[in-house]
Symmetry: C2
Subunit: 402 residues, 2 copies
DNA sequence: CGCAGTTTGTTTATCGGAGGCACAAAGCAA
DNA sequence: TTGCTTTGTGCCTCCGATAAACAAACTGCG
């Protein structure tokens, strides 16, 4: 009896890694896929065929415009136009947002977010899930999962929000549970995940933005209030043993600084957030408007002309640099990405921030860590979608079979 | 033509994981090996047989004294008595030490260490390697590699010591290179590795000591001077992108504290090392003797009787707790192990230290991280051997074929 | 235009490393 | 002694990959 193989007998184990390469834009052609996966052309071909039959990618046999190349041109691998999507949602201090995100971190559709947030998590999540579900129905696409970004540490593995104080939600709110029930009520039969917004932004930047290729990526960002941090190690989010890692807001950056609710004083949280910048510049913040917007305006409009604004900015940059240097000494990252107000501070005076970090970190070499602004729009939202895509990236056949 | 399989066709991929289980004491029998590896009994049997023919383990078919068990008793897997060893060496402020370490972290032989350390790395390493090579010749065993522990950050991947100031060595000394040439001169044809002593101690404690089973293990320890830290994530040492992570000595634990050579003041390094404890208690340290020994004596003999000693101890414990809490907020470990003087401080008043850490870490849950003293003798030495054993654990056949 | 050279995609045979299963072995309990 | 349970081993099969040969598509050159 000879071996008669009819169905796919190759590329099963390489399917996940291959999809991840396509997802992160590192596999433009089958030939690249072959070398990146370290498999034979036969296997890579089978993998690409399987991803095609799964409806995830398309193989474009038109000549790929490669000018100076020899040999037979490789077919282009492209993300399928009508492939499945992840449902992404974000809740922050000033409202919420919803979107559909396809493979490759592509935002396919967005819903205009409401600008008020209720104190009841179930109420808010019900609204945002309803908005997302409407997008999904309109698109007619298949949904592979749903992700939610919240401005709070999220405990693993129970999925509770530990300090959602910027939302006025109760501490310990079972966010994942509420999210999944809202999904079920909206008729979305897909698994739900949730995570901290800065963590998810870091994940998105690592896969699709300024963090690509970094082995040890540190992200620090302000939201509207407070400071968050995240670490991506070898492509995986490091959230610590219980999801509480990188709570960097309470590093001391000024021993004589203003008191913080944590009991200490001069914490990164209260010294480098929008309110700190405004107060340092002698402005009385308008409580009706967004503090983040007011701080941005200060940096854009007044930085060049107003000496007080410039001095305040310099002080806040120095504090941020001190905090980053402390993190560099502990984590030794190979890249740092800043978001929110911190990104604007970096852009206002990149040399000053880099000099402070270099001076205060112990080793010259680690002091010269690249510090970059984040590059993705809505990176928390894209990161929330990454959470939902992860099972598909891990095992496409199993995740898409259901 | 039928399938005729003569040689080993099973357990090739499971060989490394199986050896690691034996190495860490988690595979007492073949039956346990089967469940731990998640393979069939046939595969586990083949793996055990292969490890036996490699001379690494022995299979003892005498009934294992299991009292209340039913069914056929499983054969015991034991580490071979005359198996290969790793050559381990440690250099510290007061001298050096050498040993042979077998599988399972067992110290097979030790050399009495010299008590003076020359300022020339090549001189010191030549002596310690000579001592180790003598041990190796006497034992008649096979050597699978050599590891060296130094009290300095070691840069990856070049293997240079960045701050060996406690040895009065030049910063940036190419320690690994010197070590391997010394090995070659001593006639040891085995690969040489080196690492930071606290990092290696953490690795040893994770595999064979108080850190077993921890997913996110944080170690903090004093040597004779200064403070070091280490993080073991999922069984692997986390040394950062360039080997410089966990330089925890310069966390601020007292803004009004004594000045540190790093330029700041009140660093963990100068506030919780042996000298700090002695000075806080009003003692004038004897520069001729070991500061660590004098601090130990203070804790053992004077703590219960001398109010000044007690007050000084409490202060230093509080400072240490503050530093640990900062690390807990950033790293969220699930276990903390303390070594050197810090271990003694923990043992002097465990409740006080735990209370400080819990109070100053942001989340009650992460505040209740278990804090334990280290349990292994010579853990840096055993850790250095782990470095040498690692290639064998990763791929026993390839590493032992050469 | 035709041909050599280069790189890519596909087909077929084969191989390596595991799982499945039946059976034997070694203990305990009745 | 007879069951019952658990462990160790041999034989077959299956899955997922490699290897090698071949076909296809393009460049460059005479």
């Amino acid at each position: 009896m000879t071996h008669t193989r009819t169905r796919l007998d190759r590329g099963r184990n390489a399917l996940g890694p291959a999809l991840e390469l396509v997802h992160t834009g590192r596999a433009p052609t089958r030939a690249v896929l072959t070398t990146e996966l370290g498999v034979t052309r036969a296997t890579a071909g089978a993998v690409a065929g399987e991803l095609q039959t799964l409806g995830l990618i398309t193989v474009d046999s038109r000549p790929s415009a490669a000018p100076g190349s020899q040999g037979r041109p490789s077919h282009r691998l492209a993300i399928a136009d009508n492939g499945p999507v992840a449902l992404a949602a974000q809740v922050h201090a000033d409202g919420f947002r919803a979107a559909l995100v396809g493979l490759g971190g592509r935002i396919v559709a967005t819903a205009p977010g409401c600008m008020t947030v209720d104190a009841d998590p179930a109420q808010v999540l019900g609204e945002v899930v309803a908005a997302a579900a409407a997008l999904l129905r309109d698109s007619g696409r298949r949904c592979i999962g749903a992700g939610l970004a919240v401005p709070s540490a999220v405990a693993e593995p129970d999925g509770t929000a530990l300090n959602p104080l910027h939302l006025a939600w109760p501490a310990g709110a079972p966010v994942r549970e509420i999210f999944t029930t809202c999904l079920a009520e909206a008729g979305v039969t897909a698994p739900g995940f949730c995570g901290n917004d800065v963590n998810l932004a870091a994940l998105a930047e690592h896969r699709h933005g300024a963090g690509q290729g970094a082995q040890h990526l540190l992200c620090v960002a302000t939201g509207h209030r407070g400071v968050g941090g995240a670490l991506v190690l070898d492509g995986r989010l490091h959230t610590g043993s219980a999801g509480l890692a990188l709570e960097v807001g309470h590093l001391t950056v000024d021993p004589q600084g203003r008191p913080c609710h944590c009991g200490s004083r001069g914490c990164l949280d209260v010294e480098t957030d929008p309110l700190a910048l405004l107060e340092a510049a002698g402005r009385t913040p308008d409580p009706a408007g967004s503090l983040l917007d007011q701080a941005h305006h200060l940096l854009r409009a007044d930085y060049a002309t107003d000496p007080a604004a410039r001095a305040a900015t310099d002080t806040v940059i120095d504090r941020l640099g001190l905090g980053l240097a402390g993190l560099v000494n502990i984590l030794n990252p190979d890249r740092i990405i800043l978001g929110g107000l911190h990104r604007r501070l970096l852009e206002a005076d990149p040399d000053r921030l880099r000099a402070v970090v270099e001076e205060r970190s112990l080793w010259g070499r680690s002091g010269s860590v690249p510090i970059l602004p984040c590059t993705l729009d809505h990176n928390s939202l894209v990161g929330a979608a990454e959470l939902a895509w992860q099972p598909v990236l891990d095992d496409p056949l199993a995740a898409l079979a259901a």
